[in-house]
Structure formats: C-alpha cells, structure tokens
C-alpha cells in the first residue's frame, strides 16, 4: 500500500510538472497584458511596465524563473490584487468554496445514494418512478436556476434563509443546496443502476436462502457492493464542486474561488492562473488517489497494488 501511494505521488509530481509547463506556454499565447489599464498605456509606458515585471524576457527564461520560484514555494503576486501573494489569495478565497462544496457533496451524495438504493429496491413501482423523476429533474435543472428559485422562495419570500451575503453559516445553506442537486442526481442514477445489477446476483439469492431479511441483505451485501461505481464518479465530482461554481457564487455573493479563476484568465493575471491551475490539478489528482484507496476499503477483493494478487 505504502509503495503504491509513493508511486502514485511520483506520477503526481510528473503530471503537475507537465500541467504547469503546458499551462505556462498556453497562457503566454493569450492576447493582451496583465495591466488593468492597458488601453491607456502608451507603447513606451507598456515597455517600462513589462521590464519592471520581467515580462520583456524571452518566454523560456520566464518559464525557468517561474519553475525555480515554484520549487521554492513562491507562486508570485497577483496582478489583479497588487502585491497580494497568489497563495494567500487562493487560501482566502478557497474557504467559502470548500465549505459550500463540501456541504453540497455530503448532502448530494448521501441523499443520492439513499434515493438510488430506494429506487433499486422498489424497482419498477411508483417509488422507483418518483426517484427517477427526481434524478432526471436534478440533471436537467441547472444549479443556477435552482439557486434563483431557492433564493426567491426560501429567502426573499418566506425569509427563512439570508438572500445572499456571506455572514454566517446560515448563508452557506442555500448555495450548498443549489450545488447539491447535481451530485444527488448523478449518484442516484449510478446507485440505482448498479444496485439493480447487484440485486440480481447469485450471492443475493444465497443471502436470502440463508434466511436474511430483505433489509439485512440490502445493507450487508448490496449497498456496499454497489458503492464502487458511485465512488468512481464521486472523486472527480468532488474536485469539481469544491473548486467552486462561478454562477452560484455570484448569485449568493460568495467570495469564492470560482470567480477568481475566470477573472484571472480574463485579466491575464499570469501568477494567479498558474497558481489556480496547479491547485486544481493537485486537488483532482488527490481526489483520484483517495477514490482508488477507497475502492480497497469498500471492497477488499480489489487490491490497489495489483502484484499482490495470487
């Protein structure tokens, strides 16, 4: 196990290096400068600014400097936020995104698993139809539409939650619910399909023959075995949701990271683009690693270190 994780960490470093390199060169192909009033700077002034920021150097030199700094843990300072270290910017903006993302994942995946399981157990009756309807609804309705509806009814009209503004934990509930709909729907669909398959397996028949009740069979054998494909989708989905949703963050005025990434690209904020890309890549890889480790926890038949198999 330890050897496997070490190997994966090695791959992660190589992948990160490739991601950083490709992003760096692609970023430099974007038109424009990172100066917010670039349209007002004359060619001479622009030249001076480029010299000050080292942007006049050949791109390969800038690349080597960036890599060198990165290895020392320096990700530079943002152009959008003068003199704010990129790392500090990411950390400060990450907290709200992580909170609503994590809440959304917990609510979404747990309810999704439950909904999928209930649907599978009640296959082809009205409970199944209702669950299927809910999951189709969840996939069809974009989170921002749900966000507006939640905001209007639960906050504006009935005054149960805050409309927007990031004040206390209560402010995080509506955005979390809006974001939860996608993992809920996807998890429910996967869970149902997989569980229907599992319920038709021989060992379920065996469990029934051993005299286990329906619920004992479901909880002991079916649920656990159905979770494998669900976990497969949960990894990337978690990375996706934790990194924030630009639209939901905007609707609820959340000072999150989603908007920062888009804005950094729009404004050619090179250090922030790099910092966030590396962070996203890292998060994605960590989630994949966790997913693989979880496989073996949930189903011991799966050995992540393949060579240990008989």
């Amino acid at each position: 196990m330890g050897k496997y994780i070490l190997k994966r960490l090695g791959y992660m470093i190589i992948t990160l290096f490739l991601v950083a390199s490709i992003t760096f060169f692609m970023m430099k192909l974007m038109p424009g400068t990172p100066f917010s009033n670039q349209d007002k700077l004359s060619a001479a002034q622009l030249k001076i600014m480029n010299e000050q920021y080292g942007l006049n150097k050949p791109i390969w030199q800038q690349y080597l400097i960036y890599l060198g700094n990165m290895l020392h843990g320096h990700f530079g300072t943002s152009f959008q936020f003068n003199n704010q270290p990129v790392l500090q910017l990411i950390v400060s903006r990450l907290k709200p995104s992580l909170l609503i993302g994590a809440q959304a994942m917990v609510i979404g995946s747990l309810l999704g698993i439950l909904l999928g399981a209930v649907a599978a157990v009640n296959k082809n009756n009205w409970v199944d139809s209702l669950a299927t309807f809910v999951s189709i609804l969840g996939i069809s309705v974009p989170s921002f539409v749900l966000a507006v509806l939640l905001q209007f009814f639960l906050a504006f009209k009935w005054n149960i939650f805050p409309i927007a503004l990031w004040t206390d934990w209560k402010s995080s509930i509506l955005p979390s619910l809006a974001l939860a709909v996608s993992p809920l729907a996807q998890t429910a669909r996967f869970m149902r399909t997989e569980m229907v398959d599992v319920l038709n397996s021989d060992y379920i028949e065996l469990s029934k023959a051993k005299g286990n009740t329906r619920w004992q069979t479901v909880v002991k054998h079916t649920l656990r075995n159905s979770l494998i494909p669900v976990i497969t989708i949960l990894g990337p989905l978690t990375a996706n949701i934790l990194t924030g949703s630009l639209v939901v963050e905007n609707i609820f005025s959340i000072p999150g990271i989603g908007e920062q990434f888009v804005k950094s690209i729009m404004t050619n904020d090179y250090p922030t683009i790099m910092g966030l890309t590396i962070f996203y890549a890292l998060l994605f890889m960590i989630m994949l690693l966790i997913t693989d480790i979880l496989y073996s926890v949930i189903d011991p038949r799966i050995r992540i270190a393949g060579k240990e198999n008989n």
Partner: protein
C-alpha cells in the same frame, strides 16, 4: 430528451416568474432601520488601497471615502481638502503653491507637505510599478523618472515647509487643479508605508487615513467592507453618517432582492432589471464621464477617409433606440465625444461644454436615415465606388450587452445600400490587441475620463495619438488641440475656445462616431440623500445624509 427539454423550460419559466414577482414588490419595501449605516452595493472587490497602485473605480471610491488629497469635489465644484484654498498658478502657469491646513492622519501624525512629496515620488518611481505613473507627465521630470532616466527625487514637487507644498510643471496644465482631487495624487503617510512595505494597502491594518472614514476589518479580496467615521478627519463635523457598509453583489437579481428586503440602500442595476425598474420609486440614473463610440479604420479601408461616408454611418444610427431598447441601463445618446455634465465654461459655469458645441454635434449625430442614404451615395460617387458592395467587420466585446449592441448597429448600418456588416465579438483583451494592431474595419470602443476636462478626450484623436486607432487625421483639429495645450494653456477663455473649435471639427468630420454616454442605473432608498457622483467619477461621502 424531449421530456428534459420541457422540464428545463418549465423550470426556467418558473424562475423568471419568481424574478418578476420579486420586481413587483418594490412598493411594499420599507425604509431602512435608522442605524446611522448606509449599505451600498458595489460591483467588485477592492484590488488595492495603495493610491500609487490602484487603477479602478472601486479602489478610487474607497480611497475617496477614507483619504483626502488637496481638493475634493462638492457637487461639480472643486473645494479645498487638505489644501486651504483652490490656488491659482504663478510663473506663467508653471508653479502651484498649495497652503495646507492642520490635518491629522488616523494614527495621530500630522498630514504634511512631505507626505505629498513622498507619495508622488513613490508613484513615479518605476520600482513601484504604478500603472498610473503616466498621469504625472507634465510635472517637472516625471517622464524622465518613469523612464528610469532620472531619480524620483528630481520630481518637480517640494515641501517648502510642513504646510506648504510647491509643484513645478514642465508646461502649463490648465486642468491641474482638477487633477488634484483625484486619488492618484493623494498623500501617503511615510511611516506607515515604510513599515508595511509591499503589504501596504493590502488590508486595513496596513493603512492610516486622513479622510472622512476609516476602513475596518478589510482583508484583501473581501466581498464586504466597512468604513467608520474618522474622528481625526479635519472636517469630521460635516460627516453625518457614522458607517458605510459596502457589499459586492454581482448578480443584478440578487441585488434587487437585497434592496427590496432592505439589506441594501443603494444598488446598481443592469440589463433587464434596469429596464423593468425604470420609472419605479427609487430609480435614478447617473451618467459617467465615459463615451462609447465607433472608430473606422482609415488606414486599411480608404473609403472611411471620405467625410460623407462617415457622416452617413453616423446618421443611420438611432441612438435613442440603442440606449432605451438595447442598453436600458441609464445610458444616454451621445452626439459628441465629450460627456455631458463633466466640464463647464470657465467664464460661465452654468454652460456645459457639450451645450456650447451642440450646434455642430446635433447636425451629424442625429438619426436621419434619408439623409444618411443621400450622403452615402454622394460619398460612394466621390470615391468612385458607386454601386459597389462593401463587407465590413464590426469588432466588439463578447459580453451579452456588447453583442446586442453590435446586432443593433449591424441592422442599422446594413440599411445603407450595398453595406454588409459581419460581427466579430471577442474578449476585451483581444479587442484591445486587435485595435492596437489595426486589425479591424470598425470597432466599438469607449473612453473613461481620467480627469474631468475635454482635453482628456480630444488628445486621443490627434493624428499621432497612439489611441487614435482609426487613424482619422485632420490638421485643423490637431492645431486647435495643440494651441489649447501650448499658446493658450494659460488663458482659460482662449483654451476653452480652442477645445470647442476642435470639437466642432470632430463633430463635422465624424472622425469618430459617438454612440452613447454610459450610465449607471440605481435604485436608492428615499432616506439616502446627497449620494451623487462627482465629476471625477467618485461619490463624495462627506455630504452623504441618512434621513431618519
């Protein structure tokens, strides 16, 4: 698939109904609690509070609330700030000597002439990396300093004594006093700046204030920040509102919901929300010192060198329709390059620059499709293009509103016989770089005033100006602009006449085709008084009142 589509449609309709129902609630909104706090929506976060580094209006507003320079605008009038009077230059307009009052920073330090010297030198010093250093050009040695040819200590600014600041210019700058109200000329407390180094201006702990308010609990890219009354401010008696609470809200529907629930006292509206709320209680539109216009590339498309062709293009655009039906955000039709309500006749302050140049402006920037077609035909004949077809690319931004605007212009211009318009909507930075490279036929662009004087706009269109992307060139126009900057720079009356003459030429020639003056549509609670934008684009919150 079909079911999904219907479902999506249904939910969207439901959501829209919700939004509309929300809009209808304005009459039931109550006045905000009288807690001496004014809650204001803002569109973005503060990028920096360092007056040497800031470039945007959000930072400029927070700067104007919490800091003070030599002057401050009260309505359209320039009033003394840290200076005790609005001074007149001596030495043929080259020397300004400002007497300073006894003012204090919020840490108890006195505000001295040296604080201005320190801040200004710091801004022009290339190592500070200020993007606004160019605005100092005209002050002795500024250009050489920003180019790294002279040390910052040679800048034409000196502290004669603690309470006298002297500025030496290289050439007369007739609008120099107007510049002195802008945040990029604010003083800085040297002790604080040196103490925090690069961290200065990144959070409220690193700042001291000499303005009406103090920024509290602000930490970099926060979505919300509070400003509390600064008792150390020299004019603290005039400040009546104890606290300003700013909140970043990006979604216009959320803003409206917050306003109607009394969570915000003033919001900015955009798009459909602005159109819906027009005419309702609390709605008001404020005009910015900013003009949107079309530039035609005369370098690549020789047909645009013909005056009648340019005039025909201008006359085919119904600006009323464009601002009302397409934009709907409080923008107003522009028939001239200079924004309305920005600059006034030095001999008669009641006369707006645009009012005095209206005769030439209204002639070729009105909507007259018949005349447009006539001039178009004449222009084609003059250039030997009769009967020919033209396909021009109209370059613009890729925002929703810019796309709608482009479609409107496409529809208007294609009414000219033989004219076809292809739209190219690209991200802002791409638009800028394509404009700089001359890679366009026609481009929709705009200019925000750096300071409230017509010259800020007029200099953009002189033949050799970098910003003159269409390469329209007229020697008479150039001469008038040049005269206003040199021979007549010390005579406000003559200078004003030069600028009017230059504008008349531009109007007649349609060197650029003006479209509209950008507006800000607001909803403001009736309890909020004196919340109006000043000529330099910021709100003077000293005068703000909250009626209980």
């Amino acid at each position: 698939m079909k079911a999904k589509k219907w479902l999506t449609l249904g939910m969207t309709i439901l959501a829209s109904a919700g939004i509309l129902a929300g809009c209808g609630k304005s009459s039931s909104s109550k006045a905000p609690a009288a807690d001496d706090t004014v809650k204001i929506m803002t569109k973005d976060v503060i990028a920096t509070m360092d007056s040497s580094l800031n470039t945007d209006v959000i930072g400029a507003q927070a700067g104007s609330d919490t800091m003070e320079g030599l002057y401050r605008y009260e309505g359209k009038e320039l009033k003394p700030g840290i200076a005790t009077k609005v001074v007149k230059p001596t030495n043929n307009g080259l020397t300004y000597t400002f007497p300073l009052r006894n003012a204090k920073w919020s840490n108890g330090d006195p505000v001295t002439a040296n604080d201005f010297v320190f801040a200004w030198r710091r801004t022009v010093d290339p190592s500070t990396k200020s993007q606004y250093a160019y605005i100092y050009e005209g002050i002795a040695n500024a250009k050489a300093i920003t180019a790294g040819k002279k040390p910052a200590s040679t800048l034409g600014v000196e502290a004669v004594n603690a309470h006298t600041l002297r500025v030496t210019l290289e050439k007369p700058i007739s609008y120099f006093n107007e510049l002195m109200a802008a945040y990029f000329y604010f003083p800085q407390n040297p002790r604080t700046v040196k103490k925090w180094g690069k961290k200065y201006g990144t959070n409220s702990k690193t700042l001291v204030f000499d303005g009406p308010y103090k920024l509290v609990n602000w930490d970099g890219p926060d979505n919300t920040w509070n400003e509390v009354k600064n008792d150390s401010y020299w004019n603290a008696k005039a400040v009546k509102v104890k606290k300003l609470q700013y909140q970043v809200v990006k979604d216009p529907t959320t803003a409206l919901n917050l306003y109607q629930s009394n969570k915000l006292d003033d919001i900015t509206l955009t798009g459909d929300n602005a159109k819906q709320m027009r005419g309702s209680k609390g709605y008001n539109a404020q005009l910015k010192n900013s003009t949107s216009y079309i530039e035609m590339n005369q370098r690549h498309k020789t047909i645009f060198r013909n005056k009648k062709i340019r005039q025909a293009i201008s006359l085919s655009i119904d600006r009323q329709q464009l601002t009302k039906k397409v934009l709907g955000d409080g923008s107003r039709p522009s028939d001239t390059f200079i924004p309305k309500g920005m600059s006034f006749d030095p001999t008669d302050k009641t006369k707006d620059f645009t009012q005095e140049t209206d005769a030439s402006a209204s002639k070729y920037a009105r909507y007259d499709p018949k005349e447009a077609k006539k001039l178009w035909k004449e222009g084609l004949a003059e250039t030997g293009n009769t009967g020919k077809k033209f396909n021009f690319v109209l370059l613009g931004d890729d925002t929703d509103i810019a796309k709608k605007q482009a479609e409107f212009l496409q529809n208007a211009l294609e009414k000219l016989p033989g004219m076809k318009i292809t739209l190219s909507n690209v991200p802002f930075k791409t638009r800028l770089s394509r404009s700089n490279d001359g890679d366009f036929d026609m481009v929709m662009t705009g200019w925000n005033a750096d300071f409230p004087d017509p010259i800020n706009f007029l200099t953009l269109q002189v033949s050799k100006a970098a910003y003159n992307r269409g390469k329209w060139s007229n020697s008479t126009f150039d001469n008038f602009v040049n005269k206003s900057l040199t021979d007549d720079a010390n005579s406000p009356k003559k200078r004003w006449q030069d600028m009017k003459d230059a504008q008349d030429v531009l109007n007649e020639e349609q060197g650029i085709v003006p479209l509209y003056q950008q507006g800000d549509a607001h909803m403001t609670k009736s309890s909020i008084k004196n919340y109006a934008v000043t000529p330099n684009g910021s709100y003077n919150t000293v005068l703000l009142r909250l009626q209980k």
